[in-house]
Symmetry: D2
Subunit: 159 residues, 4 copies
């Protein structure tokens, strides 16, 4: 059983014409998983619906608590990319679960997006990595506390 | 460095109106990887361009030879799903490389497809699995020789 | 009120992995129209579900009869491109309705397709053209009886 | 020959992760037309790249001037939906050309969008309507000066 926690971020942004802008919508993950023939073996809970630049310490504690209390040993967290490394660092103390954070540079609802690849990558990573906290982006696995988002290059890299 | 070998299969099928049918086209993998911000760290070679129901023992030997001679320790092979388990079984003797076979039930060129998720899943699996030969489909990892395609359920399962 | 009659063709082809081939599926038109904010003002009836190379004289008479008996003055017919001109010629006698035939070179279910553009084009054409029978493809309007599909160039042209 | 003038709007919005927001990008029209087998018979010029809420009287005069000086008798203008009716009203004096304004509620780069249907609809409308200025949205033709965007219903309607 894999537990998915969604917190928002670009991956789940929807375009609202009424506001002339993009806002985080409901998670597209169940639809993406279903399109990939995965219909069971996971639970999904929305913790937050925020752009990660707006996440507070209190929000990160909420994520930590949910991960800590979760009875699954394998957790995938979708998250905005801007402060994903910060949330990963807050979770880094947890040592009895495999926790994989991922997100996307382009919303999953776009014709061209990295979202689906990243979710597939995370789905394998959470099953294969030993207990610990990780970020998976641009086709690589990073350990929490040793990763950052390189804004200029628009990719994640080891620190 | 990850080596990709493409052999054809549904994943790369293209609709040719002139023939009123679907045929295997060039691999969409470089485009999919690029959309997911992966531009380097791999090589791709097309071995075959066949529907896997048409693959012969000779074709499978060609794949085995390419895998054997490859100087990469990590290989992803895209393949039609109908006889993917057969090719995996032929490769099963190789013990010094991590070889992951994947494909798709719906062509990568469709609006709704499992192709992108499967490629993302395979990209993680090939980096994280120990040496051996595996099939990854419907979000699971299967060992070569102990997997089959359940035609009725349209998914792969352990034998 | 616009009446839609669907007869099959590439536009509605679906990939069935179990058969390793493409077959005509249910029409995607209601979904396409809904995505374009059109939820009413039309009726849809499936007359046939055939690749147009398999349509018989009897099939074309069925289409003619449906068009003749239809109480709408505006009819859109989706049809395979290979023999669309033949069906248009059979309908050409009808002079009291605006009948527009269209289809697609790539299934509507593909990421890249002409289907949606063609349906939008047909939706305008059926409202703006005077009574008569027309084919609309590759962004042009053709009169029934004076059009053919140029197989080599993969487009429709005036004869 | 059809002249396309692009002014921006939702239809051409692109998601820029670096800014965590959507901005108007280059027009997707050439790509959309090419996917629909239209490779010639038109010219495209970008006049502006603005969200239509930010268009000024000066901007609308620029559009008017471009339309007036254009030597084509048929013009398609892509435009943000929020003030499309205002620009149409400014153009309404032109009586020697067929001018069709359209746009989209969802960016053309989304998986689900009305953009492609609207462009197809406009492509037919500009060829079939008599000289005058029109808006085409949600599958209908509206005359400039007698149309508004119903924000609540998210559609265009006659005034």
């Amino acid at each position: 059983m894999i537990q998915i926690f969604t917190t928002g971020g670009t991956i789940d942004k929807v375009y609202f014409d009424a506001n002339s802008e993009f806002e985080v919508g409901h998670s597209l993950l169940p639809e993406l998983l279903s399109e990939s023939n995965i219909h069971e073996g996971y639970r999904l809970r929305e913790l937050l619906r925020k752009d990660s630049l707006e996440m507070t310490d209190s929000d990160r504690q909420l994520v930590l608590q949910a991960a800590r209390e979760c009875d699954c040993a394998r957790i995938v967290i979708t998250h905005g990319t801007d402060t994903m490394a910060d949330t990963a660092a807050v979770l880094a103390g947890l040592s009895d679960k495999t926790i994989v954070l991922t997100g996307a540079m382009q919303p999953a609802r776009m014709r061209r997006t990295d979202a689906v690849f990243n979710v597939g990558f995370a789905w394998a990573a959470v099953q294969l990595l030993p207990p610990g906290v990780y970020i998976v982006m641009n086709g690589e696995v990073f350990e929490a506390g040793a990763v950052r988002k390189n804004l200029h290059a628009q990719r994640f890299e080891r620190t």
